[in-house]
C-alpha cells in the first residue's frame, strides 16, 4: 500500500516536480527523436553516444531519447543497426536542446557493399538479458512455409523457444505453456495469435516494424504472464512520401499503402492480407472437402500525428477473421484490437505515454442455418485497458520509469443454442459471463554505477479482482458441492509483489556477465488441453478456486563479441520455479462447461536449461546458430497419480541454424535448419477389445517421445532491376521458398490403428503435414 501511495504521488507530482526542477540548478538536456530518413519511422533502440563523457543512452519504443549534459561542446554519435551512423558536434549552452535526427538506411546502397550498418556492442553494455530482437527485414529473409513470412515462425527459431507442433504458430518459452506469453501488438493484447487453426500467425510482417521477445528479466513495466513478453510494434507509416509494398504468393496476397497526410506531421499506414487456400481444395482427393470455403484476412491500420515536438498521438488497429464453411458446418474466429496513444513530454526529461487499448477475440461455430438441428455456438472475450507510463531521464546514469495500468476482462465462455425457426429439438446452453479487473502499478530503474557495473530493476504490484453476479462453486473431486451467490461487487481479490532485478558487469568492450531475477504473476489463463490448441480454447481467470500462478526465474549469462562486434556469442543458464501451476484432470471437459473449475488440477512446475547462441553479421553473410538444452517438469495433484511428469513442451535438445548469404548483388539465399527432440507422448501399453474395437491402456503420462524432429528450409530471392515510374523507384523481387527441403516426414500425430486385413494387429501410424513444399511469391515495393 505504501508503494501505491508513493507511486501515486510520483504520478501526480512528477510533472510538477519536474517543472520546479527546471527552475533550479540542473544540467541542460539534449533530447529528441531518431527516425529513418527515408520513411520517417521512429527507430527503437537507436544509440546516442557522447564521446567526451563516454556515456550514452538509447531511444525508447517511440524513438525518443534524452540525456543530461553539462554545458560544453560534445561529439555526439547517433547510430542504429542497419543505418549509417552520424556524428554531430553539439554545443550545449545552459538551455535544453532538442535535436531530432534522421539516419539513412544502409540497405539503400546496393551498389557498394562496404558499409553494412552499425556494429554495436549494445548487447554487451545493456543491462538486458534473455531478450531477442528481430526487425521485419530479418524476418523477411527467413524461408517461410507456403511463402507466408511469419513473425511467430521466426521467433520459434530463437534459443529457448519451442514449437508446440509442426506448422503451429504458438510457442513455448523456456518450458512454459503457450498461454504464458504476453503477446502485445501496439500494446493491445492478442489473445489468439493464429490463423487457419494455427498454421499462420495473425501478424502481417509488412505492417510490422519491430519485434522483441523477453524470455526472462522481464521489465517491471510488463505483467500478467509467467513466461515471456512478445512486444510487437506496427509501423507508423511513411511521413515523407506515399509508398507501398505488395506481394502475390501461393496462398495469399498482401498490400500495404502508407504515406503522409500532412508531411512530417500526419502519416497513415494500412496493410491488408487475404488468403485463398480454398482455391486449392478442389485439387484434394477427398471430394467432400472440394466445395469447402477456407480463408482468412487481416487488416492493420495506423495513424500518427505529430502535434508538436512535445505531443504525438497514435491510433492503431488490427482486425482479422478466419472463415470456414462447408455443407455441414461453418466457423469464424478472429481478433480485433484498437489502441489510442498519446505521447507527451512534460519536460525534456520526463516522457509520458497514455494509452487506452481495446482487445477482442470472438468465435462462432455452427451448422448451416434453417435446418431442424441448426445450432450456433459463440464465445469470446473483451478487454479494455487504460495505462499511463512515465520515463524520467534523471541523469545519464539513472533512468526511472513508473506507471499504472488497469484492465477490465469480460470473458464469455460460451453460449450454444438451436437456431432453426421450426420447433427445434435443440435447446440452449449458456456458461455465465466472467468479469474481472486486473491492475498493475510499478516503478523501475536503470542505473549505471560506472563503466563496468550497471543495475536494472523494479517492483511491480499486481492486483486482481473478480466481480459481477455470477455464482461461484466449491468442488470436491470435480463435483459441485456448494454454491455462493454474488450480488455484483468484487468478491475475490489477490495482490502480489513482483520484484525484478538484473545486473550487468561489463568485463571489457567485448564481454560482459549478466544476472537477473524476476517474479511474474499470471491471473488469466487458457483452458487448453491439446498441444497446439484450437481457436475454440477459452480464457478463464483466477477466482476463489483458482489461485494466481506465480513464477520465479533466475538467469546468468555470459556475452562475448568477436570480430569488431560482427559476431556476438552468448551463453545463458536459467532456472524457473512456478507455484499454482494449472493442469487438467484426465479427460477434462473444457468447452461449454460451467464447471470448468472442477476440471482443474493444481500443482507446481519447474524448468531449467542452457541456451547457447552465436549471431553474426558479416558483409554478405549473416544469421545465427543456437543450441538449447532444457527440461520442464510438473507435479500436479490428481494427475499421473501425483507423480512428476514431463511438461508438454519438454524438448531436451533444440538446434536452430539460420543463414542468409548474398551470393551476388541481386541474388541472395536463405536457409534454416532445425533439429529438436520429439515431444513427450503417452503411448499405449496394452489393448483391450471392447465391442470389436481396441481401446488402449496406458501407463504413466508422457513416458514416451515422438521421433526427433528436423527440417531444412531454403529460399532464393532475386531482386529485379529497379524500374522508374515517373520519379519513383519501383523495386521488385521474386522469392522461391522451399519448406522441408529434404522431405523429412516429421510426425505431427501418432495413432495406433487396427490393420484392415488382420483387425487384431495394431500398428503405429504417423500423420505428417508437409512434405517438400516449394512456393513462389512476387513482391513489389514503391
Amino acid at each position: 500500500m505504501r508503494l501505491f501511495i508513493i507511486i501515486t504521488i510520483l504520478l501526480l507530482l512528477g510533472p510538477i516536480a519536474n517543472r520546479a526542477d527546471n527552475t533550479n540548478e540542473r544540467k541542460p538536456v539534449l533530447s529528441g527523436y531518431i527516425t529513418d530518413a527515408a520513411t520517417g519511422e521512429d527507430l527503437i533502440g537507436a544509440t546516442v553516444y557522447v564521446q567526451e563523457i563516454g556515456q550514452g543512452t538509447i531511444t525508447n519504443v517511440y524513438g525518443f531519447y534524452s540525456i543530461s549534459l553539462a554545458p560544453g561542446t560534445y561529439n555526439v554519435r547517433y547510430s542504429f543497426i542497419g543505418y549509417r551512423a552520424k556524428t554531430f558536434t553539439i554545443t550545449i549552452s545552459d538551455k535544453d536542446l532538442s535535436r531530432n535526427i534522421e539516419l539513412e538506411p544502409t540497405a539503400e546502397e546496393l551498389e557498394e557493399v562496404v558499409v553494412t550498418g552499425e556494429k554495436s556492442n549494445a548487447n554487451i553494455t545493456k543491462t538486458e538479458m534473455s531478450v531477442e530482437q528481430l526487425g521485419s527485414d530479418d524476418i523477411r529473409k527467413i524461408p517461410a512455409l507456403m511463402g507466408e513470412v511469419d513473425i511467430i515462425k521466426a521467433i520459434q527459431l530463437l534459443p529457448g523457444v519451442q514449437t508446440p507442433a509442426e506448422g503451429s504458430s504458438g510457442f513455448s518459452v523456456r518450458g512454459g505453456n503457450l498461454d504464458q506469453n504476453l503477446i502485445l501488438l501496439d500494446e493491445a493484447n492478442v489473445y489468439n495469435a493464429s490463423h487457419l487453426m494455427g498454421f499462420f500467425s495473425v501478424f502481417n510482417n509488412d505492417a510490422i516494424k519491430d519485434v522483441k521477445l523477453y524470455k526472462g528479466d522481464i521489465p517491471a513495466k510488463y505483467g500478467g504472464r509467467l513466461s515471456s513478453v512478445l512486444d510487437i510494434h506496427m509501423r507508423e507509416g511513411n511521413n515523407k512520401q506515399f509508398s507501398g509494398v505488395g506481394g502475390i504468393g501461393l496462398i495469399s496476397s498482401r498490400a500495404t499503402i502508407e504515406g503522409p497526410l500532412w508531411e512530417d506531421r500526419i502519416s497513415v499506414m494500412a496493410s491488408g492480407r487475404r488468403t485463398y487456400v480454398d482455391l486449392f481444395l478442389p485439387l484434394s482427393r477427398n471430394e467432400d472437402i472440394r466445395n469447402n470455403t477456407l480463408f482468412f484476412y487481416d487488416l492493420n491500420t495506423k495513424i500518427n500525428y505529430k502535434i508538436s515536438n512535445n505531443d504525438r498521438v497514435f491510433l492503431s488497429g488490427y482486425f482479422g477473421r478466419d472463415v470456414f464453411g462447408s455443407e455441414f458446418a461453418r466457423m469464424g474466429y478472429g481478433n480485433g484490437t484498437g489502441t489510442i496513444r498519446w505521447n507527451h513530454l512534460f519536460s525534456k526529461k520526463l516522457f509520458s505515454n497514455l494509452s487506452v487499448v481495446y482487445s477482442n477475440y470472438y468465435y462462432s461455430l455452427g451448422t448451416p442455418e434453417n435446418e431442424a438441428n441448426s445450432f450456433l455456438w459463440e464465445a469470446g472475450l473483451n478487454d479494455l485497458t487504460a495505462k499511463y507510463d512515465f520515463t524520467y531521464f534523471a541523469t545519464p546514469k539513472l533512468k526511472v520509469n513508473y506507471g499504472i495500468q488497469s484492465t477490465l476482462h469480460v470473458f464469455n465462455p460460451g453460449y450454444a443454442r438451436g437456431t432453426s425457426d421450426s420447433v427445434s429439438s435443440l435447446g440452449s446452453v449458456r456458461v455465465p459471463i466472467n468479469r474481472s479487473i486486473e491492475n498493475g502499478i510499478y516503478v523501475g530503474f536503470e542505473y549505471k554505477v560506472n563503466a563496468l557495473l550497471a543495475f536494472k530493476g523494479g517492483l511491480r504490484n499486481s492486483s486482481f479482482g473478480n466481480y459481477g453476479n455470477k455464482p461461484t462453486y466449491t468442488y470436491e473431486n470435480s463435483e459441485r458441492v456448494d454454491t455462493t451467490e454474488h450480488s455484483g461487487g468484487i468478491y475475490q481479490t489477490y495482490f502480489n509483489w513482483e520484484p525484478r532485478l538484473s545486473m550487468n558487469l561489463t568485463l571489457n568492450e567485448y564481454s560482459s556477465i549478466k544476472a537477473s531475477y524476476a517474479r511474474t504473476t499470471q491471473y488469466i489463463q487458457m483452458a487448453r488441453n491439446g498441444n497446439a490448441g484450437t481457436p475454440l480454447d477459452i480464457w478463464f481467470s483466477a477466482s476463489p478456486n483458482v489461485k494466481p500462478q506465480i513464477g520465479d526465474q533466475v538467469a546468468l549469462g555470459f556475452f562475448r563479441n568477436f570480430f569488431d562486434n560482427k559476431l556476438k556469442a552468448s551463453a545463458e543458464v536459467y532456472y524457473k520455479w512456478m507455484e499454482n501451476t494449472i493442469d487438467f484432470k484426465d479427460d477434462a471437459v473444457l468447452l461449454l462447461n460451467e464447471d470448468l473449475e472442477g476440471e482443474l488440477r493444481f500443482g507446481r512446475s519447474w524448468a531449467y536449461g542452457t541456451e547457447l547462441m552465436v549471431k553474426f553479421q558479416f558483409e554478405r553473410f549473416n544469421g545465427w546458430a543456437s543450441y538449447t538444452y532444457s527440461h520442464a517438469e510438473r507435479k500436479i495433484n490428481g494427475v499421473n497419480e501425483g507423480e512428476p511428469f514431463l511438461a508438454p513442451y519438454d524438448k531436451p535438445h533444440d538446434v536452430s541454424i539460420v543463414l542468409n548469404y548474398e551470393i551476388m548483388k541481386r541474388l541472395s539465399v536463405g536457409a534454416t535448419w532445425v533439429y529438436s527432440s520429439g515431444l513427450p507422448a503417452t503411448f499405449p501399453r496394452g489393448m483391450a477389445e471392447v465391442y470389436g474395437n481396441y481401446v488402449p491402456i496406458y501407463s504413466d503420462r508422457n513416458e514416451d517421445r515422438y521421433p526427433d524432429y528436423h527440417r531444412m528450409d531454403l529460399s532464393l530471392t532475386w531482386e529485379n532491376k529497379p524500374m522508374m515510374a515517373g520519379d519513383r523507384k519501383v523495386e521488385s523481387n521474386w522469392n522461391l521458398s522451399v519448406y522441408n527441403l529434404y522431405d523429412r516426414h516429421n510426425a505431427w500425430a501418432i495413432n495406433f490403428e487396427q490393420d484392415k486385413q488382420n483387425p487384431h494387429k495394431i500398428y503405429a501410424e504417423k500423420t505428417y503435414l508437409f512434405g517438400i513444399l516449394p512456393t513462389v511469391s512476387f513482391n513489389i515495393k514503391f
Binding site: S326, G418, V423, S424, S425, N529, G692, D704, W748, K766
Partner: protein, 293 residues
C-alpha cells in the same frame, strides 16, 4: 456435434497431409501386465444376456485376445442371484428368461481369475443401476444425400427432472448393424432436456456398407437405452481413445475410467433399460425422403 465439426475442419486442413506406418520401439508394452477385460450389459429385455471376458494384449501382439475361460460369474440384484454359464469360451450367459428391472441396482461378481499373475484368484466386482427410459414414439428414415446415408430419426418424450444419458443401437431385419464400438451413438440430454426429442439423428445407415444397405420392405429397428452417467462416459471415452487423435485438438491420452473393481481390470458392466421402435423401408418412405437410386 462439436467432434463432428472438428473432424470436418480437420479433414479440410489435412487435405494434403499424409499418413504412413512407422516403427516405434517394438518392446513397447511387452512387459505390461495383461488386464482382464469385461464386456457386459444386461437390459430390461427378456433374453439371455452375455458377459464376455478376455485378456488385454500387449500393443504389438497381433493375435486375437485370449478368452478368459473357467471363471465363475454371478449377478445379483432385485432379490435374485443369477449364475451365468459359459456357453462359448469366454462368453457367460444368463438364463433366457432373465431381464433387469428399472430402478434396481445389480452387482456383478467374477471369480476364479488370476489377474495379477501371483497364482491366486482375484475377484472382480462391479455394479450399476437401471435408469428409466421413455418409449420411442416412432422413428423415421431420411435420406442425407451428401453423406449417402439414411438417417434414423428418433421421436420421444424426454423427462426434464433429471440428467439422462442415452445409447442407440440400430438393427436391419433384426441384425445388429451398430456392431462395433465406433458405431454406437451415445448422447446426453443437454440440448433437449425436458423437451420433446424431435427427430434426433440416432444413426446413419451407410449405403456403402453391405450390412447397412436397405432393400424394399426391410425393417429398421432402433433401440434406445437409458444409461447411468458413468457408463455413458465410459462409452464416450472409449470411443475417444480408440479413435484418431491429433495434437491440435486432443488432450493427453489417458486411461478410460470404468466401473470395475479389481487388480489389472478394464471394461464395463452396464445395466440399461431399453425401448425400441421400427420403421419399414417401403415405397412411401422412399418417396417421402426424396431418395432416388
Amino acid at each position: 456435434m462439436k467432434q463432428i465439426i472438428f473432424l470436418i475442419i480437420l479433414s479440410t486442413l489435412l487435405a494434403f497431409s499424409c499418413t504412413e506406418r512407422i516403427e516405434l520401439d517394438s518392446e513397447l508394452g511387452k512387459d505390461f501386465p495383461p488386464h482382464a477385460v469385461v464386456e457386459g450389459m444386461i437390459t430390461t429385455d427378456t433374453t439371455a444376456h452375455v458377459i464376455k471376458l478376455s485378456w488385454s494384449k500387449s500393443l504389438y501382439n497381433d493375435q486375437e485376445p485370449q478368452k478368459i475361460t473357467g471363471a465363475s460369474v454371478k449377478i445379483t440384484g432385485n432379490n435374485q442371484e443369477i449364475i451365468l454359464t459359459e456357453e462359448e469360451p469366454g462368453e457367460y450367459y444368463t438364463p433366457e428368461n432373465f431381464h433387469a428391472v428399472e430402478g434396481q441396482r445389480y452387482y456383478l461378481f467374477i471369480d476364479s481369475v488370476d489377474t495379477d499373475n501371483d497364482g491366486n484368484f482375484d475377484p472382480i466386482t462391479a455394479s450399476d443401476s437401471v435408469p428409466h427410459v421413455e418409449p420411442l414414439d416412432s422413428i423415421q428414415l431420411e435420406w442425407i444425400d451428401p453423406w449417402e446415408a439414411w438417417a434414423i430419426r428418433a421421436y420421444a418424450n424426454e423427462p426434464g427432472d433429471e440428467e439422462n444419458f442415452y445409447m442407440f443401437k440400430a438393427f436391419v431385419n433384426d441384425t445388429l448393424v451398430t456392431d462395433t464400438l465406433y458405431e454406437i451413438f451415445v448422447t446426453d440430454d443437454v440440448f433437449f432436456n425436458g423437451e420433446y426429442i424431435n427427430g434426433l439423428e440416432s444413426y446413419f445407415l451407410n449405403e456403402e456398407d453391405t450390412d447397412e444397405r436397405l432393400y424394399p420392405n426391410d425393417t429398421v429397428t432402433l433401440k434406445i437405452y437409458a444409461l447411468t452417467e458413468p457408463l455413458y462416459e465410459f462409452i464416450l471415452r472409449a470411443q475417444e481413445e480408440a479413435n484418431y487423435s491429433a495434437p491440435l485438438f486432443s488432450g493427453p491420452p489417458s486411461n478410460v475410467e470404468h466401473n470395475l473393481e479389481g487388480t489389472n481390470v478394464f471394461g464395463f458392466f452396464m445395466t440399461a433399460s431399453v425401448k425400441s421402435a421400427q420403421a419399414i423401408w417401403d415405397t412411401a418412405a422412399i418417396r417421402q425422403s426424396g431418395y432416388h437410386y
